[in-house]
Subunit: 198 residues, 2 copies
DNA sequence: GAATACAATACGACTGGTCGTCTTAATTGT
DNA sequence: ACAATTAAGACGACCAGTCGTATTGTATTC
Protein backbone atom coordinates (compact mmCIF):
# COMPACT_ATOMS: atom_id res chain seq x y z
CA UNK A 1 0.00 0.00 0.00
CA UNK A 2 2.81 2.37 0.84
CA UNK A 3 4.31 1.14 -2.39
CA UNK A 4 1.53 2.27 -4.68
CA UNK A 5 1.57 5.68 -3.02
CA UNK A 6 5.28 5.96 -3.65
CA UNK A 7 4.66 4.89 -7.21
CA UNK A 8 2.15 7.65 -7.64
CA UNK A 9 4.54 10.18 -6.17
CA UNK A 10 7.42 9.02 -8.33
CA UNK A 11 5.28 9.03 -11.45
CA UNK A 12 4.15 12.56 -10.71
CA UNK A 13 7.66 13.67 -9.96
CA UNK A 14 8.79 12.31 -13.30
CA UNK A 15 5.89 13.95 -15.12
CA UNK A 16 6.53 17.30 -13.46
CA UNK A 17 10.21 17.17 -14.21
CA UNK A 18 9.44 16.07 -17.75
CA UNK A 19 7.32 19.16 -18.30
CA UNK A 20 10.19 21.39 -17.25
CA UNK A 21 12.97 19.67 -19.14
CA UNK A 22 11.10 18.76 -22.31
CA UNK A 23 9.84 22.30 -22.60
CA UNK A 24 13.32 23.76 -22.29
CA UNK A 25 15.39 21.28 -24.25
CA UNK A 26 12.90 19.33 -26.31
CA UNK A 27 12.34 15.59 -26.56
CA UNK A 28 15.54 14.53 -28.29
CA UNK A 29 17.52 17.15 -26.45
CA UNK A 30 16.67 15.69 -23.06
CA UNK A 31 18.09 12.36 -21.92
CA UNK A 32 16.17 10.13 -19.57
CA UNK A 33 19.14 10.04 -17.25
CA UNK A 34 19.02 13.81 -16.97
CA UNK A 35 15.39 13.70 -15.90
CA UNK A 36 15.94 10.79 -13.54
CA UNK A 37 18.97 12.37 -11.89
CA UNK A 38 17.02 15.58 -11.30
CA UNK A 39 14.34 13.77 -9.31
CA UNK A 40 16.77 11.17 -7.91
CA UNK A 41 14.99 8.15 -9.31
CA UNK A 42 17.18 5.30 -10.58
CA UNK A 43 17.36 4.48 -14.22
CA UNK A 44 15.96 1.00 -13.83
CA UNK A 45 12.83 2.30 -12.13
CA UNK A 46 11.73 4.43 -15.03
CA UNK A 47 10.49 1.43 -16.93
CA UNK A 48 8.32 0.37 -14.01
CA UNK A 49 6.42 3.60 -14.40
CA UNK A 50 6.39 4.09 -18.14
CA UNK A 51 6.60 1.86 -21.18
CA UNK A 52 9.26 3.92 -22.91
CA UNK A 53 10.37 7.47 -23.48
CA UNK A 54 7.78 8.11 -26.18
CA UNK A 55 4.72 7.11 -24.17
CA UNK A 56 6.18 8.94 -21.20
CA UNK A 57 6.34 12.04 -23.35
CA UNK A 58 2.73 11.58 -24.39
CA UNK A 59 1.77 11.47 -20.71
CA UNK A 60 3.86 14.54 -19.96
CA UNK A 61 1.83 16.36 -22.60
CA UNK A 62 -1.52 15.52 -20.95
CA UNK A 63 -0.03 16.31 -17.56
CA UNK A 64 1.19 19.67 -18.81
CA UNK A 65 -2.12 21.04 -20.02
CA UNK A 66 -4.09 20.31 -16.84
CA UNK A 67 -3.03 23.38 -14.81
CA UNK A 68 -3.78 25.66 -17.74
CA UNK A 69 -7.29 24.27 -18.04
CA UNK A 70 -7.86 24.83 -14.33
CA UNK A 71 -6.42 28.33 -14.42
CA UNK A 72 -8.57 29.34 -17.38
CA UNK A 73 -11.68 27.77 -15.84
CA UNK A 74 -11.01 29.83 -12.73
CA UNK A 75 -11.11 33.03 -14.76
CA UNK A 76 -14.23 32.04 -16.66
CA UNK A 77 -16.22 30.91 -13.63
CA UNK A 78 -16.03 34.13 -11.67
CA UNK A 79 -19.69 35.19 -11.57
CA UNK A 80 -18.99 38.90 -11.35
CA UNK A 81 -16.67 38.88 -14.38
CA UNK A 82 -17.77 38.94 -18.00
CA UNK A 83 -16.21 36.29 -20.20
CA UNK A 84 -14.21 38.56 -22.48
CA UNK A 85 -12.57 40.25 -19.51
CA UNK A 86 -11.96 36.81 -18.00
CA UNK A 87 -10.16 35.70 -21.15
CA UNK A 88 -8.13 38.89 -21.24
CA UNK A 89 -7.18 38.50 -17.58
CA UNK A 90 -6.18 34.91 -18.14
CA UNK A 91 -3.86 35.75 -21.00
CA UNK A 92 -2.41 38.68 -19.09
CA UNK A 93 -1.64 36.29 -16.28
CA UNK A 94 0.14 34.01 -18.74
CA UNK A 95 2.13 36.95 -20.05
CA UNK A 96 3.23 37.92 -16.55
CA UNK A 97 4.31 34.36 -15.92
CA UNK A 98 6.27 34.17 -19.17
CA UNK A 99 7.99 37.45 -18.44
CA UNK A 100 9.02 36.16 -15.02
CA UNK A 101 10.54 33.11 -16.71
CA UNK A 102 12.52 35.39 -19.00
CA UNK A 103 10.66 34.10 -22.09
CA UNK A 104 12.12 30.63 -21.61
CA UNK A 105 10.14 27.55 -22.49
CA UNK A 106 7.06 29.00 -24.07
CA UNK A 107 4.51 26.26 -24.57
CA UNK A 108 5.36 22.58 -24.38
CA UNK A 109 2.59 21.82 -26.84
CA UNK A 110 3.91 24.20 -29.47
CA UNK A 111 7.48 23.07 -29.05
CA UNK A 112 6.60 19.39 -29.33
CA UNK A 113 4.16 19.88 -32.20
CA UNK A 114 7.10 21.16 -34.18
CA UNK A 115 9.59 18.57 -33.00
CA UNK A 116 7.47 15.41 -32.88
CA UNK A 117 4.41 16.12 -34.98
CA UNK A 118 5.81 14.21 -37.93
CA UNK A 119 7.70 11.43 -36.18
CA UNK A 120 5.71 10.23 -33.16
CA UNK A 121 2.13 9.21 -33.76
CA UNK A 122 1.55 8.64 -30.04
CA UNK A 123 2.68 12.14 -29.14
CA UNK A 124 0.84 13.61 -32.09
CA UNK A 125 -2.44 12.22 -30.80
CA UNK A 126 -1.69 13.34 -27.27
CA UNK A 127 -0.90 16.83 -28.53
CA UNK A 128 -4.08 16.86 -30.57
CA UNK A 129 -6.16 15.97 -27.56
CA UNK A 130 -4.48 18.51 -25.30
CA UNK A 131 -4.80 21.34 -27.81
CA UNK A 132 -8.42 20.50 -28.50
CA UNK A 133 -9.34 20.43 -24.83
CA UNK A 134 -7.75 23.82 -24.41
CA UNK A 135 -9.39 25.17 -27.53
CA UNK A 136 -12.81 23.91 -26.43
CA UNK A 137 -12.53 25.73 -23.14
CA UNK A 138 -11.62 28.97 -24.89
CA UNK A 139 -14.49 28.37 -27.25
CA UNK A 140 -16.87 28.16 -24.30
CA UNK A 141 -15.50 31.44 -23.00
CA UNK A 142 -16.00 33.12 -26.36
CA UNK A 143 -19.50 31.68 -26.61
CA UNK A 144 -20.36 33.23 -23.28
CA UNK A 145 -18.81 36.49 -24.42
CA UNK A 146 -20.98 36.37 -27.52
CA UNK A 147 -24.08 35.87 -25.42
CA UNK A 148 -23.01 38.80 -23.28
CA UNK A 149 -22.73 40.89 -26.42
CA UNK A 150 -19.03 41.61 -26.02
CA UNK A 151 -17.86 39.48 -28.95
CA UNK A 152 -19.09 39.55 -32.52
CA UNK A 153 -21.66 36.97 -33.60
CA UNK A 154 -20.87 36.74 -37.29
CA UNK A 155 -17.88 34.50 -36.59
CA UNK A 156 -18.29 31.17 -34.84
CA UNK A 157 -16.86 30.85 -31.36
CA UNK A 158 -15.01 27.76 -32.53
CA UNK A 159 -13.24 29.43 -35.43
CA UNK A 160 -12.25 32.35 -33.21
CA UNK A 161 -11.01 29.96 -30.54
CA UNK A 162 -8.92 28.12 -33.11
CA UNK A 163 -7.48 31.37 -34.39
CA UNK A 164 -6.66 32.53 -30.89
CA UNK A 165 -4.99 29.27 -29.89
CA UNK A 166 -3.00 29.04 -33.10
CA UNK A 167 -1.90 32.67 -33.03
CA UNK A 168 -0.94 32.28 -29.40
CA UNK A 169 1.31 29.35 -30.33
CA UNK A 170 2.90 31.43 -33.04
CA UNK A 171 3.55 34.43 -30.84
CA UNK A 172 5.05 32.20 -28.16
CA UNK A 173 7.64 31.05 -30.68
CA UNK A 174 8.27 34.63 -31.64
CA UNK A 175 8.62 35.58 -27.98
CA UNK A 176 11.34 32.97 -27.57
CA UNK A 177 13.55 34.32 -30.31
CA UNK A 178 12.84 37.98 -29.64
CA UNK A 179 13.01 37.60 -25.86
CA UNK A 180 10.14 40.00 -25.63
CA UNK A 181 6.52 40.03 -24.55
CA UNK A 182 5.56 42.51 -27.26
CA UNK A 183 4.29 39.78 -29.61
CA UNK A 184 2.14 38.35 -26.83
CA UNK A 185 0.60 41.71 -26.02
CA UNK A 186 -0.20 42.54 -29.59
CA UNK A 187 -1.76 39.13 -30.14
CA UNK A 188 -4.21 39.83 -27.33
CA UNK A 189 -4.78 43.40 -28.47
CA UNK A 190 -5.41 42.44 -32.07
CA UNK A 191 -7.70 39.49 -31.42
CA UNK A 192 -9.46 39.85 -28.07
CA UNK A 193 -9.28 43.63 -28.18
CA UNK A 194 -9.87 44.09 -31.91
CA UNK A 195 -10.94 41.48 -34.40
CA UNK A 196 -13.23 39.61 -32.02
CA UNK A 197 -14.94 42.69 -30.60
CA UNK A 198 -18.65 43.03 -31.19
CA UNK B 1 40.07 25.86 -58.39
CA UNK B 2 38.07 22.76 -59.13
CA UNK B 3 38.43 22.14 -55.45
CA UNK B 4 36.72 25.28 -54.31
CA UNK B 5 33.87 24.60 -56.71
CA UNK B 6 33.45 21.12 -55.26
CA UNK B 7 33.55 22.64 -51.84
CA UNK B 8 30.76 24.97 -52.80
CA UNK B 9 28.74 22.13 -54.23
CA UNK B 10 29.25 19.96 -51.17
CA UNK B 11 28.36 22.80 -48.86
CA UNK B 12 25.15 23.42 -50.77
CA UNK B 13 24.33 19.74 -50.84
CA UNK B 14 24.74 19.61 -47.10
CA UNK B 15 22.63 22.72 -46.60
CA UNK B 16 19.85 21.42 -48.85
CA UNK B 17 19.81 18.07 -47.15
CA UNK B 18 19.90 19.80 -43.78
CA UNK B 19 16.74 21.72 -44.62
CA UNK B 20 14.92 18.51 -45.42
CA UNK B 21 16.10 16.45 -42.48
CA UNK B 22 16.10 19.14 -39.79
CA UNK B 23 12.59 20.11 -40.79
CA UNK B 24 11.33 16.56 -40.53
CA UNK B 25 13.20 15.30 -37.49
CA UNK B 26 14.49 18.37 -35.73
CA UNK B 27 18.01 19.30 -34.70
CA UNK B 28 18.62 16.75 -31.97
CA UNK B 29 16.60 14.14 -33.84
CA UNK B 30 18.91 14.23 -36.84
CA UNK B 31 22.42 12.82 -36.69
CA UNK B 32 25.19 14.25 -38.81
CA UNK B 33 25.91 10.78 -40.16
CA UNK B 34 22.35 10.56 -41.40
CA UNK B 35 22.74 13.81 -43.32
CA UNK B 36 26.19 12.90 -44.63
CA UNK B 37 25.11 9.44 -45.77
CA UNK B 38 22.17 10.93 -47.65
CA UNK B 39 24.44 13.15 -49.76
CA UNK B 40 27.34 10.64 -49.78
CA UNK B 41 29.88 12.91 -48.17
CA UNK B 42 32.30 11.25 -45.74
CA UNK B 43 31.87 11.99 -42.09
CA UNK B 44 35.41 13.28 -41.74
CA UNK B 45 34.73 15.95 -44.35
CA UNK B 46 31.92 17.68 -42.53
CA UNK B 47 34.27 19.77 -40.43
CA UNK B 48 36.02 21.05 -43.52
CA UNK B 49 32.80 22.77 -44.49
CA UNK B 50 31.32 23.76 -41.15
CA UNK B 51 32.65 24.61 -37.73
CA UNK B 52 30.23 22.34 -35.92
CA UNK B 53 26.65 21.11 -35.99
CA UNK B 54 25.26 24.21 -34.35
CA UNK B 55 26.70 26.77 -36.78
CA UNK B 56 25.78 24.43 -39.61
CA UNK B 57 22.21 24.55 -38.37
CA UNK B 58 22.31 28.34 -38.25
CA UNK B 59 23.40 28.34 -41.88
CA UNK B 60 20.68 25.88 -42.81
CA UNK B 61 18.18 28.34 -41.37
CA UNK B 62 19.38 31.21 -43.58
CA UNK B 63 19.56 28.86 -46.54
CA UNK B 64 16.01 27.71 -45.92
CA UNK B 65 14.30 31.07 -46.02
CA UNK B 66 15.83 32.23 -49.32
CA UNK B 67 13.44 30.44 -51.71
CA UNK B 68 10.43 31.70 -49.76
CA UNK B 69 11.63 35.27 -50.07
CA UNK B 70 12.08 34.83 -53.81
CA UNK B 71 8.71 33.16 -54.25
CA UNK B 72 6.91 35.89 -52.32
CA UNK B 73 8.78 38.63 -54.19
CA UNK B 74 7.63 37.00 -57.41
CA UNK B 75 4.02 37.34 -56.40
CA UNK B 76 4.39 40.93 -55.21
CA UNK B 77 6.25 42.17 -58.25
CA UNK B 78 3.70 41.21 -60.86
CA UNK B 79 2.67 44.63 -62.17
CA UNK B 80 -0.84 43.56 -63.15
CA UNK B 81 -1.60 42.11 -59.72
CA UNK B 82 -2.68 44.06 -56.66
CA UNK B 83 -0.67 43.35 -53.54
CA UNK B 84 -3.46 41.80 -51.46
CA UNK B 85 -4.25 39.31 -54.20
CA UNK B 86 -0.53 38.66 -54.56
CA UNK B 87 -0.26 37.80 -50.88
CA UNK B 88 -3.32 35.58 -51.05
CA UNK B 89 -1.95 33.79 -54.09
CA UNK B 90 1.37 33.29 -52.40
CA UNK B 91 -0.18 31.70 -49.33
CA UNK B 92 -2.45 29.56 -51.45
CA UNK B 93 0.62 28.32 -53.25
CA UNK B 94 2.18 27.43 -49.91
CA UNK B 95 -0.98 25.60 -48.91
CA UNK B 96 -0.95 23.57 -52.11
CA UNK B 97 2.67 22.67 -51.50
CA UNK B 98 2.02 21.62 -47.90
CA UNK B 99 -0.92 19.50 -48.96
CA UNK B 100 1.26 17.77 -51.54
CA UNK B 101 3.79 16.98 -48.79
CA UNK B 102 0.99 15.48 -46.71
CA UNK B 103 1.37 18.14 -44.02
CA UNK B 104 4.85 16.94 -43.18
CA UNK B 105 7.54 19.33 -42.10
CA UNK B 106 5.68 22.57 -41.84
CA UNK B 107 8.16 25.39 -41.37
CA UNK B 108 11.76 24.85 -40.38
CA UNK B 109 11.78 28.21 -38.62
CA UNK B 110 8.80 27.41 -36.45
CA UNK B 111 10.06 23.95 -35.57
CA UNK B 112 13.51 25.20 -34.61
CA UNK B 113 12.23 28.24 -32.74
CA UNK B 114 10.51 25.79 -30.44
CA UNK B 115 13.36 23.33 -30.21
CA UNK B 116 16.40 25.60 -30.07
CA UNK B 117 15.10 29.02 -29.12
CA UNK B 118 16.18 28.60 -25.52
CA UNK B 119 19.35 26.58 -25.94
CA UNK B 120 21.28 27.83 -28.96
CA UNK B 121 22.04 31.51 -29.11
CA UNK B 122 23.57 31.18 -32.57
CA UNK B 123 20.48 29.55 -34.00
CA UNK B 124 18.22 31.94 -32.13
CA UNK B 125 19.87 34.89 -33.86
CA UNK B 126 19.74 33.18 -37.21
CA UNK B 127 16.06 32.44 -36.72
CA UNK B 128 15.44 36.02 -35.68
CA UNK B 129 17.06 37.34 -38.82
CA UNK B 130 15.25 34.93 -41.11
CA UNK B 131 11.85 35.61 -39.58
CA UNK B 132 12.40 39.35 -39.70
CA UNK B 133 13.45 39.31 -43.35
CA UNK B 134 10.33 37.38 -44.17
CA UNK B 135 8.15 39.63 -42.04
CA UNK B 136 9.60 42.74 -43.66
CA UNK B 137 8.74 41.50 -47.11
CA UNK B 138 5.17 40.76 -46.08
CA UNK B 139 5.05 44.19 -44.49
CA UNK B 140 6.01 45.74 -47.82
CA UNK B 141 3.23 43.81 -49.49
CA UNK B 142 0.70 44.99 -46.93
CA UNK B 143 1.96 48.56 -47.28
CA UNK B 144 1.35 48.41 -51.00
CA UNK B 145 -2.08 46.91 -50.37
CA UNK B 146 -2.84 49.79 -48.02
CA UNK B 147 -1.85 52.30 -50.68
CA UNK B 148 -4.08 50.47 -53.14
CA UNK B 149 -6.94 50.80 -50.68
CA UNK B 150 -7.43 47.07 -50.24
CA UNK B 151 -6.16 46.89 -46.67
CA UNK B 152 -7.20 48.99 -43.68
CA UNK B 153 -5.05 51.95 -42.70
CA UNK B 154 -5.82 52.15 -39.00
CA UNK B 155 -3.43 49.27 -38.28
CA UNK B 156 0.24 49.53 -39.18
CA UNK B 157 1.52 47.30 -41.95
CA UNK B 158 4.20 46.09 -39.57
CA UNK B 159 1.84 44.97 -36.83
CA UNK B 160 -0.33 43.20 -39.38
CA UNK B 161 2.69 41.54 -40.91
CA UNK B 162 3.81 40.34 -37.50
CA UNK B 163 0.36 38.99 -36.74
CA UNK B 164 0.21 37.21 -40.07
CA UNK B 165 3.64 35.63 -39.73
CA UNK B 166 3.03 34.56 -36.16
CA UNK B 167 -0.41 33.17 -36.85
CA UNK B 168 0.96 31.34 -39.86
CA UNK B 169 3.56 29.67 -37.65
CA UNK B 170 0.86 28.64 -35.24
CA UNK B 171 -1.44 27.19 -37.86
CA UNK B 172 1.46 25.26 -39.38
CA UNK B 173 1.93 23.52 -36.06
CA UNK B 174 -1.76 22.85 -35.92
CA UNK B 175 -1.69 21.49 -39.45
CA UNK B 176 0.98 18.99 -38.43
CA UNK B 177 -1.00 17.44 -35.64
CA UNK B 178 -4.37 17.63 -37.39
CA UNK B 179 -2.99 16.53 -40.74
CA UNK B 180 -5.29 19.04 -42.36
CA UNK B 181 -5.08 22.25 -44.36
CA UNK B 182 -8.22 23.63 -42.72
CA UNK B 183 -6.25 25.70 -40.16
CA UNK B 184 -4.16 27.18 -42.97
CA UNK B 185 -7.20 28.16 -44.99
CA UNK B 186 -8.98 29.76 -42.10
CA UNK B 187 -5.85 31.70 -41.15
CA UNK B 188 -5.82 33.30 -44.59
CA UNK B 189 -9.57 33.82 -44.59
CA UNK B 190 -9.63 35.43 -41.18
CA UNK B 191 -6.67 37.73 -41.64
CA UNK B 192 -6.13 38.53 -45.32
CA UNK B 193 -9.81 38.06 -46.13
CA UNK B 194 -11.26 39.53 -42.95
CA UNK B 195 -9.43 41.42 -40.26
CA UNK B 196 -7.02 43.20 -42.60
CA UNK B 197 -9.63 44.22 -45.18
CA UNK B 198 -10.21 47.90 -45.69
C1' DG C 1 -0.54 -13.74 15.71
C1' DA C 2 3.62 -15.78 13.45
C1' DA C 3 5.81 -18.01 9.66
C1' DT C 4 6.06 -18.85 5.05
C1' DA C 5 5.32 -18.35 0.02
C1' DC C 6 4.57 -15.56 -3.72
C1' DA C 7 4.22 -11.52 -6.57
C1' DA C 8 5.18 -6.85 -7.39
C1' DT C 9 8.37 -3.33 -7.33
C1' DA C 10 13.00 -1.17 -7.07
C1' DC C 11 17.37 -0.97 -8.65
C1' DG C 12 21.96 -0.13 -10.99
C1' DA C 13 25.25 -2.27 -13.78
C1' DC C 14 25.34 -3.33 -18.45
C1' DT C 15 24.10 -3.75 -23.64
C1' DG C 16 24.66 -2.44 -28.44
C1' DG C 17 24.53 1.42 -30.83
C1' DT C 18 24.96 6.38 -32.04
C1' DC C 19 26.37 10.94 -30.92
C1' DG C 20 29.46 15.12 -32.23
C1' DT C 21 34.17 15.95 -32.65
C1' DC C 22 39.13 15.34 -33.48
C1' DT C 23 43.57 13.41 -35.03
C1' DT C 24 46.18 11.93 -38.52
C1' DA C 25 47.24 10.47 -42.94
C1' DA C 26 46.30 10.52 -47.87
C1' DT C 27 45.42 13.29 -51.77
C1' DT C 28 45.38 17.21 -54.42
C1' DG C 29 46.80 21.68 -56.83
C1' DT C 30 50.54 24.72 -57.46
C1' DA D 1 58.68 19.76 -53.04
C1' DC D 2 55.30 22.13 -50.54
C1' DA D 3 50.90 23.83 -48.68
C1' DA D 4 46.09 23.21 -48.49
C1' DT D 5 42.27 20.43 -48.69
C1' DT D 6 39.90 16.09 -48.01
C1' DA D 7 38.82 11.92 -45.84
C1' DA D 8 39.08 7.73 -42.88
C1' DG D 9 38.49 6.07 -38.69
C1' DA D 10 39.10 6.43 -33.78
C1' DC D 11 37.60 8.92 -29.55
C1' DG D 12 35.06 9.23 -25.28
C1' DA D 13 30.57 10.44 -24.00
C1' DC D 14 26.06 9.47 -24.07
C1' DC D 15 21.77 7.32 -25.72
C1' DA D 16 17.35 4.40 -24.76
C1' DG D 17 16.45 0.25 -23.09
C1' DT D 18 17.31 -4.53 -20.58
C1' DC D 19 18.35 -7.99 -17.18
C1' DG D 20 19.20 -10.35 -13.02
C1' DT D 21 19.00 -9.48 -8.35
C1' DA D 22 17.43 -7.41 -4.14
C1' DT D 23 13.80 -5.65 -1.63
C1' DT D 24 9.31 -5.05 -0.28
C1' DG D 25 4.16 -5.81 0.43
C1' DT D 26 0.43 -9.10 0.50
C1' DA D 27 -1.82 -13.48 0.92
C1' DT D 28 -1.91 -17.97 2.78
C1' DT D 29 -1.18 -21.27 6.07
C1' DC D 30 -0.73 -22.90 10.51
Amino acid sequence: MVRVINKKINRDKLLDQGVTMLMGQGFHGTGLKEILDAVKIPKGSFYNYFENKETYCAEVISHYIEPFIIQLQGHLQKPEMDALTGLKNYFNELIDELEKNQFKGGCLLGNLMGELGDTSEICRLSLQEAVNRYRDLIKQGLLKAQQEGAVRNDLSAESMANLLVDTWQGVLLRMKIEKSIVPLKSCCDNLLGGYFKA
